[in-house]
């Protein structure tokens, strides 16, 4: 089932070195790229159906075409490498195992959108990753792939790595821009969108690492080669990080559209220790959970996930076996988002705090059934009523657990202990 498009060089020794990467085709598309018109590049990317891999799945080519023309201001590209969503670990592979694919992708994108300054925003905890990435950038500068004359063409491109300081919210695109500007990473109100008013108030495109790294293949082989993978609305391949209760957790590149259970069994070796499946988190902790029953019909693409009331997300699949205590899981989840809230919106700052307190109370055996309802009410009052969707990234999954596993919460309310400990089967 696995394919090797993005991960083609991942298993080659020293693939992060320019010399090795070039032997295996790095920067080979530039010849073709510079022969194209920028508008044609955007067209090709649109045709490829490439959707943003940062979580929201917005078509990349379409986003680029939102840039206003002739503003007299510079255009910036910010590559989102904050990768902090729990259970998501895909971009780091690109950074370490094939950074030149990312740099090549950056050149392609910048040529298409007329950008000469790129920032790569990398999460602070990625210390070894940032070192390798920076080495690769330095090598690219030296070899003339970056700098005043990219690949000998009359095209200037500077790439700057900006390290975060450990805040999940800085992955949100406007908080990321604030952070690059040297301010506290706090999301901005939208509109205006960054494509119009972005970094330093200039038009800015923000794309995920994997979105950008997908470009060399699309330009090299053409949009059709890319749409040969995946489904109609979910073209191409994706790096999936599979974790949780499976026999073979890890990062796998797969075409979009495969059945969830097939992937679990055939790629990840099935639920571990021969246990039963309780649920699947399909794309990072912020996506609503699928029950074992729902997982039977779901496939790994944007459409199917939407049909199942959840989201494709960032490719971080978490498998939950039947021993998982959902209430404890929910507490962990809220704890994370509450801690990571930037604190500017009342509902998020205060609301997530109260959700955490109430969940802790339930977990300690002191909750009531009204508390479960209050949690649901809080979810409604917070979701989509804030500046950014960090709060929704918490309430959407929490609501799904409350609705799909309410009996586990009630077990705590009635018996003061988890379903499992109380010996009831879920």
């Amino acid at each position: 089932m696995e394919v090797k498009i993005l991960s083609a060089k991942f298993d080659i020794e020293n693939s992060h070195k320019l010399e090795v990467a070039k032997e295996h085709g790095a920067y080979a598309t530039l010849e073709k790229l510079f022969a194209m018109e920028p508008a044609d590049v955007i067209e090709e990317v649109k045709k490829s159906g490439l959707r943003g891999r940062g979580g929201a799945g917005f078509p990349a080519g379409v986003k680029w075409s939102f840039l206003p023309k002739d503003t007299g201001k510079p255009v910036y590209l910010a590559v989102n490498s904050d990768e902090s969503e729990p259970a998501t670990f895909k971009d780091r592979y690109i950074l370490v195992r094939d950074p030149h694919m990312l740099i090549e992708g950056i050149i392609i994108c910048c040529y298409a959108i007329g950008c000469h300054d790129t920032y790569i925003y990398i999460r602070g905890e990625y210390t070894s990753q940032v070192r390798i990435l920076q080495q690769a950038i330095d090598e690219a500068y030296e070899a003339g792939y970056l700098g005043d004359t990219v690949a000998g063409r009359d095209f200037k491109l500077e790439v700057t790595v900006h390290r975060g300081a450990g805040a999940y919210v800085c992955g949100e695109e406007t908080a990321l821009l604030e952070s690059i500007e040297g301010k506290k990473g706090q999301p901005r109100s939208k509109p205006p969108f960054p494509a119009v008013v972005g970094l330093y108030d200039c038009p800015t495109i923000i794309n995920n690492v994997q979105s950008i790294a997908s470009l060399p293949f699309i330009i090299d082989q053409g949009a059709e080669a890319y749409t040969a993978y995946g489904t109609e609305k979910s073209a191409g391949t994706h790096l999936f990080g599979i974790s949780g209760h499976v026999e073979k957790p890890g990062m796998y590149e797969l075409p979009l559209g495969l059945p969830v259970l097939d992937v679990l069994d055939k790629v990840a070796g099935g639920v571990w220790k021969g246990r039963k499946l309780k649920g699947v988190i399909p794309g990072g902790s912020s996506t609503p959970v699928l029950t074992a029953e729902e997982a039977k019909t779901a496939t790994l693409d944007y459409e199917s996930m939407a049909e199942h009331g959840t989201m494709f997300g960032s490719g971080g699949i978490v498998v939950l076996d039947d021993t998982v205590d959902i209430v404890a899981l929910v507490k962990n989840l809220i704890d994370f988002y509450h801690h990571e809230s930037c604190g500017q919106c009342t509902p998020c700052r205060e609301g997530l705090g109260w959700m955490l307190k109430i969940t802790k109370k339930i977990l300690a055996g002191g909750g009531s059934s009204e508390d479960i309802d209050l949690l649901l009410e809080l979810c409604d009052n917070i979701e989509m009523k804030t500046v950014c969707v960090l709060s929704a990234a918490c309430t959407m999954p929490v609501r799904s657990y409350l609705n799909k596993f309410r009996h586990e919460f009630e077990a705590y309310v009635e018996k003061g202990a988890s379903l499992q400990a109380a010996g009831i089967q879920g």
């Binding site: 109100s189 809230s341 604190g343 500017q344 205060e350 997530l352 705090g353 009052n381």
Partner: protein, 727 residues
């Protein structure tokens, strides 16, 4: 309202709560609704700050729009159908307010007995920690109280979480109790995006988010300029003036203009009985939307209600002060002054005083005492300075503070605007942020340099060389950008002031108004006082005096130049003072000079008596009496009128001292609008240079020219101020 440049904004129609409204493109829903008289609750939004959208109270429902957009950030569009007050929205807001208040000591807010309690209980604000409305300096004017009433919130489902943060009291003027903070961010934004002081910030994140300074520095270490803007915008009692906290809830409020510096900011003064509770900027004022400076905001109360204020007349009996009645004091003065008429007498007034007082004071000197020795202290470096500025305005039009924002490039010459004229500094910073050229030249770096595109440092006392180079360079330019020059202390108070200013005026005239000049006059009414005739060579209306008198420097320069002085305020003690035959001081406090005074009179300031002033732009501004003052205080005009009567001379005016002459203010107004015909060749040969060693930007200069009131040193009166000013 800020000056808006006329643009061809499109007019749109939308409906708000089924009412059709006409709106301009680019307006937010909140602005449009407010203009149409529809109230939408809001907390974090303020008109003078960039859109934020944090509190989420202003959410509305818009037909065909997903979710609940915030009115304060969503631009209005053609045909929008907006509902602002549905049950669903009110419920949502109630729940947000509940969350907001869950970390605010809310007991009083939702107490069933709060009406009775407010009616029968006094606010007990003299507490270290605020635990409810009745202990809060904001009680009564709080926006949270208003919202709780509006949304009829009667119960909060979450138990109170008291943050238990020790209140910060380590700065001179205000207290910070972040247990009350609702994190609306107004203070942070006004500090960073309006004042550009860049002191306050959000620290921590999520539930632990708080307002603070970077790296936990104190306000002062973080660069606080103590403008107090944060206090003015805070909707809660989280930030409050130290002094006002102890006075109680204000019972009345008046608008006036500040007279500390030449800008004359509009301000609102809240009072209770005879006391000032606090001072706030007037929200819609042209000069200072939501802004004052340290002096205007914090000093009036500290100064007027100072425990050392002298409130009775005194006479000096062999070095001991004897409290006497006004009649007794006036008798002593009359008797002595009768012996010193003519050139033996001199009167030194203050540029903080009103036009009315100034006019009567010079009349007293010239008419009653038949002397021409009348001047201000500190005096201008050459007597005709203000007239030259006036002539310049008359021929080239008035220059206003907001011209700083419309000029293409701004030269800041020898000024310390950060402290001397904070609101001008603010406009300079704004211009810089808007991408204008800001060129600073001074003998020492000031904070303005951080907001400049170019900084040139010249040697101490070498401002004239710099000026010369600059003016000759600019004189060569033909056409081009509009330049505004902000002319500061080092130029105006230099020994070479006359040359410096002539040089600049010459350039301005020759440039056809392409180069314009704004003179940083230090005190509130230097312009008006001079216009009213407080000048040894100029009569009221700037007419040249036939008989020239001695200026302040000369009166004090040589012992026995004159034998009697009537002084308003204070001045530095020199040998001449000690040698006077007779010395009257009319002031608020005993000062070192009082030691040599024969009679001391208690002064009613313009804060207590009102009047008018002319600010550095040449605008006539009214001053209202803020507080009545103690019974025995008298205005300078009232006092000299009394002296004249006791001397058996003609009264100077009949009726009230705050309006001694009904013709006066209309006349001033006329002079200001019509200007005076330029009298070429009327300027006298340069005066010999005074010996003063100013012309340098030092703490002393600041204190001498800017941090005094009627000559009384403010840092001496308010020791905290000294701490703030020390670098």
């Amino acid at each position: 309202m800020t000056d808006t440049i006329k643009t061809q904004a499109k007019t749109l129609t939308a409906t708000i709560d089924s009412r059709e409204v006409l709106m301009t493109e680019g307006m937010t829903i909140l602005r449009a609704a407010t203009d149409a008289g529809i109230y939408i609750p809001s907390l974090c939004h303020l008109d003078c700050l960039p859109d934020y959208g944090g509190c989420r109270l202003c959410m509305v429902k818009v037909e065909n729009m997903r979710g609940f957009p915030t009115a304060c950030t969503t631009p209005i569009a053609q045909g929008m159908q907006i509902s602002t007050r549905t049950d669903e929205l009110q419920q949502l807001r109630r729940e947000i307010l509940e969350l907001l208040l869950s970390e605010h000591p809310y007991t009083c807010l939702v107490c069933r007995d709060k009406k009775e309690c407010t009616e029968f209980m006094h606010s007990t604000r003299k507490v270290g920690t605020i635990t409810g409305c009745n202990f809060c300096p904001n009680n009564g004017t709080c926006e949270l109280q208003h919202l709780v009433d509006y949304l009829e919130l009667s119960e909060i489902r979450f138990p109170i979480v008291y943050r238990n943060i020790p209140p910060v009291k380590d700065n001179p003027f205000y207290e910070l109790d972040y247990n009350l903070c609702i994190l609306c961010g107004r203070c942070v934004r006004i500090c960073n995006e309006e004042r550009y002081s860049e002191v306050l910030a959000f620290i921590n994140r999520g539930n632990a988010a708080l307002v603070g300074t970077a790296f936990d520095e104190t306000q002062k270490e973080a660069g606080c300029e103590f403008c107090g803007a944060c206090i003015d915008v805070c909707p809660t009692g989280s930030l409050s003036e130290k002094m006002g906290k102890w006075v109680g809830q204000p019972d009345s409020s008046k608008d006036t203009h500040c007279s500390f510096c030449g800008i004359g900011c509009r301000m609102t003064v809240n009072t209770k009985g005879k006391r000032i509770v606090n001072v706030g900027p007037e929200p819609e004022s042209r000069h200072n939307p939501h802004q004052l400076c340290m002096r205007g905001k914090f000093i009036p109360g500290d100064m007027l209600h100072h425990p050392d204020r002298v409130t009775r007349p005194h006479i000096n009996r062999q070095g001991k002060w004897l409290e006497v009645s006004w009649d007794q004091a006036l008798d002593v003065i009359a008797e002595n002054l009768k012996k010193c008429s003519g050139d033996q007498f001199g009167l030194i007034g203050s540029a903080h005083d009103s036009i009315e007082n100034s006019f009567v004071l010079q009349k007293f000197t010239r008419q009653t005492m038949r002397s021409a020795n009348v001047d201000l202290s500190p005096a201008t470096p050459y007597p005709e300075l203000i007239r030259d500025i006036h002539d310049y305005y008359a021929s080239s039009g008035h220059v206003t503070i907001n011209d700083i924002l419309t000029a293409d490039s701004i030269h800041v010459l020898g000024a310390m605007t950060q402290w001397s004229h904070a609101i001008i500094e603010n406009r300079i910073r704004k211009a810089y942020k808007a991408g204008k050229q800001v060129l600073v030249a001074a003998s020492i770096p000031t904070r303005t340099v951080e907001f400049s595109t170019d900084y040139q440092r010249y040697g101490k006392g070498c401002e004239h060389i710099h000026l010369h180079r600059l003016t000759s360079e600019l004189a060569k330019e033909k056409g081009g950008e509009r330049i505004l020059m902000i002319v500061g202390d080092e130029i105006i108070n230099s020994d070479r002031a006359r040359d410096n200013i002539n040089n600049l005026l010459h350039l301005a005239t020759r440039s056809n108004n392409r180069v314009r000049l704004l003179f940083l006059l230090a005190e509130g009414n230097r312009y008006g006082a001079t216009l009213a005739g407080m000048n040894p060579v100029l009569l009221p209306g700037f007419a040249a005096a036939r008989k020239k008198g001695l200026d302040t420097a000369k009166m004090l320069g040589r012992p026995k130049a004159i034998s009697a002085i009537h002084l308003i305020g204070d001045l530095p003690v020199g040998p001449a003072i000690k040698k006077l035959k007779f010395f009257v001081q009319h002031n608020m406090f005993f000062t070192p000079a009082s030691k040599f005074a024969d009679v001391f009179l208690p002064l009613a300031t313009t804060w207590e008596s009102g009047g008018h002033l002319v600010n550095l732009e040449g605008s006539l501004l009214p001053l209202s009496a803020m507080v009545p003052g103690e019974d025995q205080l008298m205005t300078p005009a009232g006092a000299v009128n009394g002296i004249a009567m006791h001397m058996g001379r003609k009264v100077l005016f009949a009726g009230s001292a705050s309006n001694p002459d009904r013709q006066l203010i209309p006349l001033v107004e006329q002079t200001l609008t019509r200007g005076r015909k330029r009298q070429t060749g009327a300027t006298e040969s340069p005066e010999p240079r005074s010996r003063s060693k100013n012309g340098r930007l030092t703490g002393k200069t600041l204190q001498k020219h800017h941090f005094h009131y009627l000559g009384n040193s403010l840092p001496d009166l308010v020791p905290d101020l000294a701490k703030v000013l020390e670098e």
